[in-house]
């Protein structure tokens, strides 16, 4: 009796998970279906969840000169790509130093970095704007890339996050390994380059996927620093060029579908690994 009840319960729980999961994905399916309908049929009720036509006129309109989505995409790729490179490189370097080297002010510096995790960029945005203005970087992609190359922040992520994550990783490398290489006469920089870095490849890849995804999605910092249409990223440009509600609705959905594409492809290609990366990112041991 209790076994029967347990089995019924388990089946019910599985059903809840499957139905709930379908419900969570439904908005994306609807977006894709609606983007494949002519512009006049985008808001029909009852809602049609699955594609009724495979009309690509919205996508053709996007590709035309009037809507610079390719420009947005290029800007997004450049900013997210270089930001990822910068954060990954500086985090690996600083993370290794904080984990494995002894130098003056190390702990004070690391403490300050940790505290900075509590200071969201939204709070310091006014002086950041002033600083970028002085540097002549307002309305340039470099306003977003430069802080990432120096490990301060990527769009959507404080740089200290990466340093902290990599420090945790490098702490896991046994000291004996470093000692052995030191006795063999290797300097610390060489140990970093030839021993620690190759071991850190999976962690670096996880960090890269997190930084890239968050930069790709970031709206707030591009909104502050980029103003001309030509410089805009995908989230900023799609929101800025949004036609009044009701007109061109399916065009917006097609633009969103295009913006989602890289995330979707990456997820389908390596979802198990991405899930692992994000899970690990949340876990401080």
């Amino acid at each position: 009796m209790t076994r029967l009840r347990a089995r019924v319960g388990a089946t019910a729980a599985n059903l809840i998970l499957v139905a709930g999961g379908a419900l969570f994905l439904a908005p994306f399916v609807w977006m894709l279906s609606t983007s494949l309908r002519p512009i006049g049929q985008s808001l029909t009720l009852p809602p049609k969840w699955l594609p009724t036509t495979f009309d690509v006129s919205n996508y053709q309109a996007l590709a035309s000169q009037d809507y610079p989505i390719l420009r947005f995409m290029q800007n997004s790729f450049v900013i997210s790509g270089l930001s990822t490179l910068g954060i990954v490189a500086t985090s690996a370097m600083a993370g290794f130093a904080f984990a494995k080297l002894t130098f003056p002010y190390r702990d004070i510096l690391f403490g300050l970095l940790l505290v900075s995790l509590m200071v969201p960029i939204q709070v310091t945005i006014v002086p950041l704007f002033v600083i970028m203005q002085r540097l002549g970087l307002v309305n340039s992609e470099w306003a977003l890339i430069l802080p990432a190359l120096l490990g301060a922040f990527a769009p959507g992520l404080p740089g200290a996050f990466g340093i902290f994550m990599m420090r945790q990783f490098f702490r896991g490398i046994p000291d004996s390994l470093i000692e052995a290489a030191t006795i063999d006469g290797a300097g610390k920089l060489r140990i970093f380059w030839t021993i620690a870095l190759p071991l850190a490849k999976p962690a670096l890849a996880s960090l890269a996927i997190i930084v890239f995804t968050l930069s790709w999605n970031e709206y707030f910092t591009p909104l502050i620093f980029l103003s001309s249409t030509n410089e805009m990223t995908l989230p900023l440009g799609i929101q800025a060029l949004r036609p009044p509600f009701g007109q061109g609705s399916s065009l917006v959905l097609a633009a969103v579908a295009v913006a989602l594409l890289p995330v979707l492809i990456a997820y389908l290609a390596g979802h198990r690994w991405i899930v692992e990366s994000f899970t690990r990112s949340g876990l401080k041991d």
């Binding site: 709930g20 002086p127 502050i224 876990l283």
Partner: protein, 301 residues
Amino acid sequence: MSTRTTARQGRAGREVVAGALLVTPATVGFTVFVLVPVVLTVYYSFTEYSLLSSPRFAGVENYTSLVDDPRLRRVYLNTALFTVMAVPLNVGLGLALAVLLHRKMPGVVRQFARSAFFFPTLVGLIFVALIWQFFFQTDSGILNYYLGKIGVGPVQWLSSSAWAIPSIVVLDVWKNAGLAMLILLAGLQGIPPDYTEAAMVDGANAWQRFWHVTFPLLTPQIFFVTTLYLIGALKVFDSIVVLTGGGPGDASRSVVMYVYEKGFKSFDFGYASAISVTLLVVIAAVTLLQFRAARRWVSYD
């Protein structure tokens, strides 16, 4: 450490150089783009400063204006309301899903459910808000269509002051609960099965096992997720910009939206900085309170 004796002082010196080289880029970046801006935010908050003029010391003028500003009270109330709804719902749903997933089940079901609930987390808030605006429309919206079928509504999701913030919460939970689920699921998987098995032998039912064994062991992850979502909720911005623009009136305007308006539409840098300082204080206070409370209810063994 005992190996590092006088004979190795040269090596220790080179270690200092290596350390300095490796942390220099991040230290420069941190100083210029994090530390200096924090100090300047506080400084600007005591000045009158606009795009055209340089900062002029004004004492506590901005702060006295803040105290009398009814809009500041409004945006703080809105942000607080959003936070007290969004954080428990995100963590609660994440926990429920994690518990449901932490069972024996067909691999297909597990993989599908985990991916489906997590996928919205990977997609930008701007993008999903652009999709959800179609669901929230009063007359042509998809939610009201189905609610109408069961005789409810029409609900003015985005255009009434009562529903604007709850609607933004709905979007937020749909988008973000998946990350809480993943982190808590990893926590559950880290609990050795012996604990719950021992409780089962002692005759504890499923609920007792969860409440007295699993939950206490999961408190570090719950604490971490709560802190993460708390700070996130206090910064809410993107979804409101797309869905309601802060309206109707100021009914759903958040603190960060107000900072943005004052700083980058009115270019009142001094006043915007003063609002920023209050937000910084609130975030610091909330985080510290969290950590103090955690000492009482989080068990780390």
